[in-house]
Symmetry: none
DNA sequence: CATCCTATGTTTAGCAT
DNA sequence: GATGCTAAACATAGGAT
């Protein structure tokens, strides 16, 4: 057979694709590629890396540079004892820090002078929540995923 | 400077590299790329995907993706104020208990510049990571079969 | 530190086995 | 399903800003 008939990689739409037979291979390849990237990152940096996939059908698959249990334990441990929040040295979004900040602010609002503390900054934050909710309401379709970059 | 002097991507050895300044950017890029792959996989398959990195220095970074429906459901559920629920992490209930009250005040002051400080992205991240953690906890509770590939 | 750029290494969509 | 192939899409090392 002519080996030159390959069409080469095609661009695909970044949205939910049916897990039909035609796509099964592609998805399998991507999972493999994802785990490979995780492994490479671990190798290059020496970091412990864990990847967990929970499929729509409820099956879970994971990759761990050590065991995924150890990864999750470590992670939860870090989160639990995390008050100092010094887990971000590459400028990524610190979700927990953000959350803690937000929570503290809200508690402060509850206990103290709401009007005073409810300054422009916090208003904008809350406004963002509102905007997000509105946005979600509009987006009825799934195919969207949420990203998290944490500490 | 001549823009055409770029050397292009070079092949690197797949081994631990020192996290010196020269490599910091590269590693940061790889982390970003890894998370992007995870996001793409989630988008294409609809699976929930979580990635955790724990660096040698003990700092953690993570990515998580969850379907927009789950995010929405969870968020609305939290908004309703289920105090008895066990998804008890870092006091998020406090946040949502006061959310409605605060939101009203926000609405009253609706004419502020909207997207500047805490963008909705961060909140999405916040919710997603917490949901993922909840999911992991549940998995651990049920002793659900998480497949592990040790390397 | 983030981001842009280039050139090139790597991944992978679509087919076929 | 896994593997092999091609070629286009994509990721990224090195360097500059």
């Amino acid at each position: 057979m002519d080996k030159r008939t390959g069409k080469g990689r095609q661009k695909i739409e970044m949205k939910l694709i049916e897990d039909n037979e035609a796509h099964t291979t592609t998805l399998s390849k991507r999972k493999k590629g994802l785990f490979k990237k995780a492994n490479e990152y671990s190798t290059l940096t020496g970091a412990d890396v864990g990847v967990v996939l929970i499929t729509a059908s409820g099956k879970s698959h994971s990759y761990g540079s050590i065991s995924i249990e150890k990864i999750t334990d470590k992670f939860l441990e870090l989160k639990q004892g995390d008050r100092q929040s010094d887990h971000d040295d590459v400028g990524k979004l610190d979700v927990f820090e953000t959350f803690e900040d937000l929570r503290k602010e809200v508690q402060a609002l509850n206990e103290k002078e709401k009007e005073r503390i409810l300054d422009k900054h916090k208003l904008e934050q809350l406004e963002a929540i509102k905007l997000w909710l509105d946005k979600i309401k509009k987006e009825k379709k799934r195919s969207c995923s949420i990203q998290v970059n944490q500490v």
